[in-house]
Amino acid sequence: MNSHYANSKGLHLNYSIIKNIIEENSRVLDLGCGNGYLLKLLKDTKQIKGNGIEISQNEVIECLEKGLSVIQGDIDDGLKQFSDKSYDYVILNQTLQSTYNPDFVLEEMLRVGKKCIVSFPNFAYWRIRFNFFISGTMPKSKVLPFEWFNTPNIHLLTVKDFFEFAKAHNINIINCIYTTKATVRKGIQYSLFSNFFAEEAIFVISRN
């Protein structure tokens, strides 16, 4: 997970949305689990059995300090150590856009998880469009604070892109939650409206 994001309000909204999705006692795998905040929250409030994968050594140590089980690794390498459907939920929170092979990562998630939760910043959010239209430079926002040359977000996408990807890859969209700073909207149909007004999107997906 992008560390800049760890303290933003949006993330806490994200956490509580994800917390509400996940049933008690689920088996959860959190990809790019960062300092383990979400896993710890789920462990304490939903009694989940959870594992995290995180690339950064310091974040791995922070997870261990919270008493979590965490594997240092690169999710771009795939999830070959996990058997098919071995988790109730596989979570990829605010990380999809910074993976090298998002399509491969999603395929692996769908293989390992009965359901998957994917969240990402929506690049078609109106403020970003407006920002780009006016300034003519790569858009920046609170969620996307980086310069073009140092951003870890190498595969930015929009809500519409994700719907099209899901259709093309036979991915079942169970739920979709759009957020801006203050509001939460739901709906599993793509709408022009949500692609325009959602700052971030959280999808619950599966493959049968």
Binding site: L41, L64, E65, K66, G67, I71, Q72, Q81
Partner: protein, 381 residues
């Protein structure tokens, strides 16, 4: 001596003799075996706060503290064992013993065979890592320990730790496996083979009968140690430590004396090693390491670990090419597939395989967090 608050202080090596014979994997029934060991901290009332530390190839029972007030050098893992250290002696009862076949107090080829009153030499049976663990278990029982909170070791110590969990799954709550492998690579076997060959081809080795002779196979043993030391470092460590710097000179000597610092270092390591280690022990212990192969022994790595319910922490070092991270990841992946509780950390280090003895700062942080199960505080205010 360092600050006493951070040290277990003055310690003493103790000895326990197992009277009954132990069945070795090679078929031989062997005994009696005396085990040299040290303990730090107190065993609790429920007798389950024990931490078993298992040493690497040439280690010994003296893992922490000092043997006397004037002792300058503490035990080999003193950075990790002590009050408030990674293996906290305020909380745990830490046990470390010298390996079977060793030469620092535990029965090995240099010990006197009570039947002949001569040193065993090469009549000592060839033993395996599993055999060394059987001996550890006897010691644990003798000490009255009912539950092992964690068994921890690096390199060969990691092999023993794995074998201990596999052999006695109901006894072990967790395992810390550092810079280790479930089977020694052909490359590592090759280095061991050259080391053994160097000892065996020293004329003073004399088929292992040198204990009563004036000349010992020091040359062979010191060469074996030099080869070992190359494998414990890495290219970056060698550049950092020595570069191409010359030893006490400004120009090449144009002869075959020592020119480079790296040569001098290896020679020094070889020389000091022969004062503390036995050539036959080196042969036997490296052989036990070579034979270690959990896949082969149990049919598969999954099969090896399937009965254990321990929680695992696995640590590797990115510059370690002797026991590379890929070998640790194989163990991690197997344990994940089995649904075991496992954490893994690859520490960035320029120190090569030696890192498990040197990188105590970050290693301590990781191990301390792992061992401290009951976490205080709320992380999501």
């Amino acid at each position: 001596m360092e600050n006493k608050n951070q040290s277990v202080g003055i310690v003493r090596t103790e000895f326990y003799t197992i009277d009954e014979k132990i069945q070795f994997e090679c078929g031989v029934n062997f005994g009696p075996i005396t085990v040299a060991y040290e303990t730090y901290g107190q065993l609790n009332e429920t007798k389950d706060n024990a931490i078993l530390i298992v040493h690497a190839l040439t280690g010994d029972a003296h893992a922490a503290g000092y043997h006397s007030e004037s002792d300058k050098k503490p035990g080999w893992w003193d950075t990790m064992i002590g009050p408030d250290k990674a293996f906290d002696t305020n909380k745990y009862y830490v046990i470390c013993s010298n390996i079977l076949g060793g030469c620092s107090g535990t029965t090995g080829p240099s010990s006197i065979n009570p039947e002949t009153n001569e040193p065993y030499g090469t009549s000592f049976p060839v033993f395996t890592i599993e055999d060394t663990v059987k001996v550890q278990k006897k010691l644990i029982d003798f000490l009255g320990v009912k539950g092992i909170y964690t068994v921890a070791g690096g390199s060969m110590g990691g092999m023993q730790a794995m074998q201990f969990v596999i052999s006695f799954p109901s006894m072990v709550k967790s395992a810390v496996l550092i810079a280790t492998t479930s089977r020694l690579s052909p490359q590592a076997i090759a280095f061991n083979a050259v080391g053994r060959n160097s000892i065996i081809s020293d004329p003073n080795w004399n088929n292992g009968n040198y204990y009563n002779k004036e000349n010992k196979p020091d040359r062979g043993l010191s060469n074996a140690r030099m080869i070992g030391h190359i494998t414990y470092l890495c290219e970056e460590a060698m550049y950092n430590k020595f570069g191409r710097r010359l030893q006490n000179k400004n120009h090449y000597d144009f002869n075959f004396d020592i020119d480079f610092q790296v040569e001098s270092y290896l020679q020094h390591q070889g020389q000091i090693f022969v004062d503390r280690f036995d050539a036959n022990s080196y042969l036997y212990i490296t052989k036990a390491v070579d034979y270690f192969d959990l896949e082969e022994k149990y049919g598969s790595l999954q099969n090896a670990f399937k009965n254990s319910n321990a929680k695992y922490l696995i640590i590797s070092f990115d510059s370690d090419w002797l026991f590379p991270s890929s070998q640790s990841k194989e163990i991690v992946n197997t344990l994940m597939q089995l649904g075991k509780d496992v954490s893994y950390c690859e520490i960035k280090s320029p120190c090569g395989h030696d890192a498990f003895l040197l990188e105590y700062d970050v290693q301590s942080k990781i191990i301390k967090s792992f061992l401290n199960e009951h976490i205080e505080g709320n992380y999501y205010e």
